[in-house]
Symmetry: D3
Subunit: 215 residues, 6 copies
């Protein structure tokens, strides 16, 4: 999608559009030196006018906000769970997820797109094929009113009673399950329903990821 990065893609889900790039650099963070393992880390940002009203740039405010930090850590953790870091060797992959337009589910779209950019970058740079154990993708689910909904739009998200993000691998195992009651707390039955729905969503997204990569 772009000329310079080793891997890149543009993911569009509903009105949400995220550019994901993966940059492979030699060297690892200092606390990993000499351990024979690589590293994958992620950064996330929104363009100021990705949202309905313009929001100030984090660079202009001089600090990265709490929500951004939380999302960056989640993307990095999700990707690392499916990479064989020892085969990555003495390299760091920087994954950048920049939201051009936001309409709900930017963090799950970022994870899903980042997986594609990462696979793309590692295919081009690692001899012997990308050191990827399996695919990972993420879906947002929620309860709007009393109905469970997959892949919430912004309008749905802002009125949802429960908001859940599921990061799951191709083999059906969870990397992250995060469910939050925005209004009323939710019971165990609702939790189970959301897990079922999100798992189905992730399986479909992984099918699309592979198609995009021609696999």
């Amino acid at each position: 999608f772009l000329d310079h990065p080793e891997g890149s893609c543009l993911i569009a889900t509903g009105g949400t559009r995220v550019i994901c790039t993966a940059s492979v650099e030699d060297g690892v963070p200092h606390w990993l030196r000499g351990k024979g393992r690589g590293w994958v880390t992620a950064e996330y940002a929104m363009l100021p006018r990705a949202t309905h009203t313009r929001s100030a740039r984090e660079s202009a405010r001089g600090r990265v906000g709490g929500r951004t930090h939380e999302i960056q850590r989640l993307i990095g953790r999700s990707l690392r769970s499916v990479v064989d870091l020892s085969r990555l060797g003495d390299r760091t992959v920087w994954v950048d997820c920049d939201v051009l337009q936001a309409d709900g589910g930017t963090r799950t779209a970022a994870i899903t797109g980042a997986m594609v950019a990462l696979h793309d970058a590692l295919s081009r740079t690692i001899p012997g094929g990308p050191p990827i154990l399996e695919f990972v993708a993420a879906a947002s689910v929620g309860i709007v009113g009393t109905f469970p909904v997959l892949d919430l739009s912004y309008a749905e998200d802002s009125t949802a009673e429960v908001d859940m993000n599921i990061v799951m691998t191709e083999s059906g195992r969870f990397v992250e399950v995060q469910g939050t009651a925005e209004g009323e707390p939710f019971d165990r039955g609702a939790l189970d329903t959301l897990l079922d729905l999100g798992s189905a969503g992730v399986r479909e997204l992984i099918r699309i990821q592979k198609a995009a990569l021609g696999l």
Copy 2:
């Protein structure tokens, strides 16, 4: 526990010790003005030598880290889910959780202690009794090796395959479920086991909270 705050407590779980204070101030954040509702927000910090080796103060580094932001948001959200903000009126409650000593589970201990400090503060300051709908507490659970474990110590936490925090109310409903694979992803069966174990832990903690408050 302290003289100045409206509410305060010291919670000790294993080697972890957290001072929780609740400060009730008049006024609300600007985006809540004129809506007839109050606000509850939280801050979290560790003393530099709460851990085995000294860590630099966030004030000296000039910025609050991503992990701290994430924990602060979780504490605030957990407490707000059980407060009747409309009865709180034109007031903001600042809850401060300062970790004197850390041995795993500081964020769940902070939520559990913060609930006590909040109840204590609102009992003293709100005419007609504390505007609290029910109690909330939090437990950490995880899979160490292949065994599910409740309330992980630092040694257990750092070797756990899965780390899960459960924030649950007295009525058995979830405010937050956050499960993270630190190593291998986990399947649905493991998730169910952890939810059962954590729920039992929270029920016991709420019993202890009430005893501490003489309820």
Copy 3:
């Protein structure tokens, strides 16, 4: 080009691609209050992997660099020179220029694209037509070796002896002329040649701007 902003465009010149958006907000900076005039201001940023090697985000470094400040001020000044601020009324237009991919001339591309986004936004929001006096565009010119060149690519730019940016209006008048000797200083004859070449480039760009807006 995007759903949310009042005006937006994607400008591509050579390998350079810049997203320009214009957001119209009510209100003006405090030092303009009560003067019956509006304001136009600009922000500029590069995505981390817009360049050949990844560069750190300014938000992560906690400060906006000198080059960014200089470019932002230039974009804002260029746009304000062709807007009738008194007809803009009590409004501020925020123009955001985000470089997706950089191959030389990002600041001149940003000004040229920003003009389009600004016209687009003001056409939709200002009753009575956009308060725009004339068009403005910008071209980069330089001396590579001993030859004058229009619209330098990155490879040309980094070896140029002289680098000049010309911001000129439709009526052939200059808003900004900035010529810098990167290596050898340049004489008056070289300056005249560059001014002729850049002026021709700007006239062509204004023709393209109008076509893009269907004017």
Copy 4:
């Protein structure tokens, strides 16, 4: 008092309570390298609700205030004056003073408590006994109305005409004498009276420090 630090104590004077910890690390600041001497440095902070009304955290404000800097420098200087830095060797001691509750005299309490934590830490870590030349402690004195007072409480401190801190060693010699007129300047006779009173206070504090350490 705490499990992790090499040395720690909780000092209570009036309503003031300060946790002091001493952490011994290998290595010295870069400007001391290769000089065969160690270093002792201190940091000081207040919990947000140590005071009557909650004050914002310095980490949240992104900068350490002037008062904090001044106190940190004073604590470090006081401790270094009684340590044989050449016997400390290639080590740095970080002393952290965190005020749980403030009721006047937090800086003098911090110095007095820090001496105990430092002695405790060096006794455990330095072969051949702690490299401490003599004890040091600090007292606050002041003139309230027209009466000299030792160890001012917050209520006394905020109405004092003169506020003086005396840091004195066991051998009766001064490390720091700092007297400040908050209202009316003070004459030489008042200064002499305050010095006498503060010296007596320090001697009593050193007796208590030794008892706490079982010396």
Copy 5:
């Protein structure tokens, strides 16, 4: 000395040269509003090459250091002790002390020069004469080797055993006495000698201040 400020002077003591300006602005800090009193505050800085080797600007480092904060607070406190703030009315005086060249005693020179700039500014701006109760000046004294010395140069200061700053008014009363042992602690006899010497120095400086103002 300068055209724009209400009051200004250049003080030279030994090799030390400090520009002091006093700027009178309408309005007071928010915590003083409606109390019928004015305010005097001070800022202090060194030019990068005021010292033997260049030191980085505090603006480039993004933070004001502890030493600077401490000095600024001392200058402000010293000046406020001799101003009748109620006669100053709804005004703030900003006193800026910028060190062009440093050769020891910059903080005492700054206080002494600031007094002149302040008197100069208030004479021009306050109807009915400057609301100044008496003069104040500051002297540095110290023990170099075993000899007490007045007004230490940089060479003396950096080898002094004891370093003391005395801020004293025309009526011989102290605003601030700050004595610090840099090496060996000092006894009561040494303290008395330094107080005598510093007091004599201040009396001479006040004589010079008045001459400079033509009083």
Copy 6:
């Protein structure tokens, strides 16, 4: 002009007064290491009361503003264009320009004074004479009303239609030409007139620079 810097001067043009110092340090920035070339860099600041009304210090605001960055880069670039960096060897020259009093044209005065301080410093420190290829100076010109004016004062500058800075060498070649329309854009004829006027001004300034250095 000052005792400590290797080179220094005070330049006065109209009411503008700038202290320029040049500090020669061993070593070069990391990206120049091992390339056998030195570096020249500049910093620029205004004293708070250099202007008619006091402006806040950049150190107190915690960030260096965009205008300051732009000026610093311009001064550095201008000086480097006339220095033989390979003869400078493994050294960095820090040039500091501090504006004591501002009355228009501070950036051009800074460049002109910096040239003198740089020559002065390199004459004293570089064996074999200063590695300077030729002199450089800068002049501000503008159009006030309809008249071209050389060396604008503050009053002229703030009402000028066009503001142009010309940095030119002794051999009549340009290092930087920057013309900005503050109000109406300007045509090619006005540009030519300003270039003629500014060139004449620079030639006169270089004559004065040489006289000041006794050349």
